[in-house]
């Protein structure tokens, strides 16, 4: 099982509902976020192109954060989801510096925190909260090894990209373009 998420940059309107849903679902402390919206405007006026991406931890298959963790707190969990075990985390921040996507932060309680793909919901057969709440239904979540999962189907149909694949991380967050 390899969990992954696909986000349709053509459908996303950048409303940040996913950000608020995540903060509410996961009790993310005020002033912090596990997911966020990036808007990239590119081109020469008036030929401008706008890409909107809802970003979060890429749950990489070759995670630099898991590799550099000195205590094993950062680890691969069910379906390749990268998690931090807070009772093992010493807050050394090595994983934060190792992440090319800057997806992690230090929780005010001292341990390092990040997106969990809402594993607690996924285990119950539900969608991650950001996916569930999206008003334009621009996010797809599922198992890459299952050819009939939402994410596998949409990746077969559409063109997609991942963020900085040249960093060698094998990210599991796909952006439909």
């Amino acid at each position: 099982m390899r969990y992954a998420m696909a986000i349709d940059t053509k459908k996303c309107v950048g409303c940040s509902d996913c950000v608020v849903a995540c903060q509410t679902e996961n009790d993310v402390p005020i002033g912090y976020c596990r997911d966020w919206v990036v808007e990239v405007m590119d081109g020469t006026y008036p030929q401008l192109e706008l890409e909107i991406r809802s970003e979060r931890c890429n749950h990489c298959e070759n995670s630099p954060c898991v590799r550099c963790c000195p205590t094993g707190a950062s680890h691969y969990n069910e379906g390749g989801i990268v998690l931090v075990e807070k009772n093992k985390c010493i807050g050394c921040s090595a994983c934060i510096t190792s992440c090319p996507y800057d997806a992690r932060f230090v929780h005010p309680e001292g341990y390092v925190d990040k997106c969990t793909f809402c594993l607690h919901r996924v285990k119950k057969g539900m969608q991650p909260s950001c996916v569930a709440v999206c008003p334009t239904k621009c996010m797809y979540f599922g198992d890459l090894d299952d050819p009939r999962s939402d994410v596998s189907m949409v990746l077969k149909k559409r063109k997609w990209k991942t963020l900085i694949p040249e960093a060698g991380t094998k990210p599991h967050l796909y952006f439909l373009i």
Binding site: S16, V19, G31, Y32, C33, W36, V37, V38, E39, V40, M41, D42, G43, T44, Y45, E55, P64, R67, C68, C69, P70, T71, G72, A73, K86, N87, K88, C89, I90, G91, C92, S93, A94, I96, T97, S98, C99, P100, D102, R104, F105, V106, E109, G110, Y111, V112, L163, I164, E166, A167, G168
Partner: protein, 313 residues
């Protein structure tokens, strides 16, 4: 004009707008660790080569700097942790992939080793020192007999300590400026240079001072060579590494790097040491302080500039 505007809704403390998660604690520790590694390396080296009496300061006096530096460094490392009460988790596992794990275990070996080395030579500093318990005397007598073995262990572990201080950074591919394996040898060389500077300072023997001034000159030469190669490597690499190098070649860190690290920390002390070897009277403290300052600044600037360098996407 073609323009690209990127707006991000993320504003996590210490991460945005620019990563600044590691403050003074890490570079200070890297400097102190490198210094301790340098001092212990020379002590071990000259013990193995049976030159204890020729280089008395290096073998018997300068190593006293090591445990002090290491303990201060360890305190700095502890202060850097955000989840401090869980620090012992470092010692419930060995993770070969993680430089931080290597460092934690190396320190676990080197710190007591440096203290043992000082205990063996405590009479050099305090001639009237007497251990209270016989068992300590017995233990020390055992190590005194096997000092060569101890020196070999110290030689290897101090080299590992010196190199690891650089590898700690170079293992992070997310920060293009750090992602060069030259940092390992460069930080080792910088630590050895700091170690020989301390020995020059503490030594009262002219021949020993001269020997270590020559050594230091050689190491500074190696450091300059490594720095040139580091930039050659960056400039021949990908866009992100070219931009990382540009932080030092016209960017924000150009002046501090070339003035504090290269000129004040390497070239000026090298010139002063050459003049000294040519019998000019120069207070020895000046090149020594400059070398230590340059070594400290190297860590600070690499640590801070590295966090400013990133992938583009």
């Amino acid at each position: 004009m073609r323009e690209e505007i990127i707006v991000s809704g993320r504003n996590n403390p210490l991460i945005d707008p620019q990563l600044h998660i590691w403050h003074w604690e890490i570079p200070l520790y890297l400097f102190l660790g490198g210094l301790a590694a340098g001092v212990l390396f020379f002590a071990a080296l000259y013990t193995i080569r049976n030159r204890e009496n020729d280089y008395r300061t290096a073998v018997k006096i300068a190593p006293f700097v090591a445990p002090i530096a290491l303990v201060i460094g360890l305190i700095a490392l502890f202060l850097d942790l955000h989840h401090k009460l869980y620090f012992w988790r470092l010692y419930t596992t060995i993770r070969l992939d993680s430089p931080m794990s290597w460092g934690a275990w190396t320190l676990m070996l080197v710190t007591p080793l440096s203290m043992l080395w000082c205990a063996l030579h405590i009479k050099e500093l305090f001639p009237k020192w007497d251990w209270k318990f016989d068992i300590i005397k017995d233990v020390l007598a055992f190590f005194e007999k096997n000092k060569k073995v101890l020196a070999w262990i110290m030689l290897v572990s101090s080299a590992v300590l010196g190199i690891y201080t650089g590898i700690l950074f170079s293992a992070f591919n997310a920060r293009p400026l750090w992602n060069t394996s030259i940092l390992g040898p460069l930080f080792l060389a910088s630590g050895l240079s700091a170690g020989s500077a301390i020995t020059i300072w503490l030594s009262k023997d002219h021949a020993e001072k001269k020997r270590f001034a020559q050594l230091d000159l050689m190491i500074i030469g190696v450091e300059l060579f490594l720095i040139i190669h580091m930039f050659m490597g960056f400039l021949a690499s990908t866009q992100v590494q070219i931009e990382a190098a540009n932080l030092f070649l016209g960017g924000a860190y150009t002046a501090p790097f070339w003035i504090f690290v290269v000129i004040m920390g390497m070239i000026v002390p090298a010139i002063l040491e050459i003049l000294e070897l040519r019998k000019f009277k120069i207070p020895v403290v000046i090149p020594v302080v400059l070398v230590l300052f340059g070594s400290l600044m190297l860590r600070f600037i690499i640590a801070y500039a590295g966090q400013a360098s990133r992938w583009l996407y």
